[in-house]
Symmetry: C2
Subunit: 287 residues, 2 copies
């Protein structure tokens, strides 16, 4: 039985190889934008979203390499959203994964364009899967009812008192939507039946929400070196987080209970071991 | 025989109706982002790109309403690119189509997110066409070898002397790529044969390049009220434009000759009248 780190590490290596082959090289004109895109994509990261897509693909019986370009698409979208989130007019972060953020290195204009280009390239790669439903699902997950919506609620929350409903909307949009669609893309690429798509969606929503709650807790309890970015920044900005609404202990309880719900959502007749391992890993990051 | 204005006006009305139905309403939460998206989409505009998609659809024998969502997708992409181009760190424009730009009304963060959300919604609408090749074509046209690439060359050009090769790259990317793929989307939705796709691509590239050259000329010769934005801004920024490289008269000649090439690219056995009318209209804007 593999540990979560073994699962993540072996997939990270494969995914990085595919990302390198699928993205334009730094010597392809216009060079500057390709440098900026690669800088952020290869600045580290656990490759959680493409790994989830690959796991779901295999879980649903998928074989071969067709999953890799759509899986990489999900990492490109994640990276685009981080670049835009870090901009001075948004979260104004200078560090990401321990390195200077895109706009600190390339300036704001190129950072915005690098995000835009990763966004477009993601759809080009997603389309290679040949399934229009995958394109629609990704588009919905990253629009105003998903990723962008979460970011909007997040920004607006800085101006008002933390609120249970809003904090769940933020987390479902900013984190759970992309995690869920990553699993869905994997299962869809393997032509999983509707029941399994629904099960994996529920697993993703619960696990993705738990993931972001733990992230909120880490922002308070972790040290800067482990986190790769300044700690306590959520409190400073008066962000609506789970700890701000429920306190740290209660937030941990909610996260652990979501992890249990995530596991229980998976069909009894399938081999869910790796998804259990990943879910437990998400939960254990909180300590 | 219809005039270009008649063709554009009748299509604008239909397209605006579809855009209104296909976009989330201003009362859909999170309201602010939907307000911002609608503000820019309904700030005016000739709807040239969706009109070209509709004309190409009919030209290739397409029937019914399936073209409208993908056609609207092209207008959303055009709008997203304008919002991002107008940002302070890019072209820093306060006016667009005679109205304050998105970031002047909603602030930079919401302007960036509105662009991102339009980008995502465009792919959701494009996918409703059910054709994966349409998604791929749009994604390529708006990435680093198209729209984003053109914008990067444009920014870099401000630092160096105007150059023939660069100015063509800027215009092919910033303008011709999206105009060409608009025509292509229309023809693909009507299942046009490969020969016709190639012909319409060539028409689009030549006409799109001419369109941008005329735009460059208008930036110098038009008055602010007609243009809806300050005139002479390209010169002020030392942008690489056709007039900067070739002078106004020679630029006009190049544009007119491109218009002729565009017309000649169309197949002899088809009814090309509306495409001729549009091409002549593009050319006549220069006077």
């Amino acid at each position: 039985m593999k540990t979560a780190n073994e699962i993540l590490n072996e997939n990270t290596e494969v995914i990085n190889g595919w990302l390198d082959r699928l993205m334009p090289s730094e010597t392809t004109p216009p060079e500057l934008i390709h440098k900026a895109m690669r800088y952020s994509v290869f600045a580290g990261g656990k490759r959680l979203r493409p790994t989830l897509a690959i796991l779901a693909f295999k879980w649903a019986g998928g074989k071969g390499n067709s999953i890799f370009p759509p899986a990489c698409a999900l990492e490109l979208i994640h990276t685009y959203s981080l670049i835009h989130d870090d901009l001075p007019c948004m979260d104004d972060d200078d560090l990401r994964r321990g390195k200077p953020t895109s706009h600190k290195v390339f300036g704001e204009a190129i950072a915005i364009l690098a995000g835009d280009a990763l966004h477009a390239l993601a759809f080009e790669l997603a389309a290679t899967g040949g399934k229009i439903a995958i394109v629609s699902s990704i588009a919905r997950a990253i629009g105003t009812q998903g990723l962008v919506g979460g970011q909007v609620y997040d920004m607006l929350s800085e101006r008002s008192a933390p609120d249970q409903e809003i904090v769940e909307k933020i987390h479902m949009g900013k984190t759970a939507a992309l995690i869920t669609v990553s699993l869905l893309v994997g299962a869809m690429m393997a032509d999983a039946p509707q029941d399994d798509l629904e099960a994996i969606t529920k697993y993703g929503q619960k696990m993705g929400l738990a993931f972001q709650i733990i992230d909120d807790i880490l922002d308070i309890t972790a040290d800067e070196k482990t986190l790769g970015k300044p700690i306590g920044s959520d409190i400073q900005r008066k962000k609506a987080t789970y700890p701000a609404v429920y306190g740290i202990e209660k937030s941990r309880e909610i996260a652990l209970s979501l992890i249990d719900e995530a596991k229980c959502a998976l069909p009894k007749n399938k081999d869910n071991e790796e998804f259990f391992t990943i879910a437990d890993f998400i939960a254990s990051r909180g300590y």
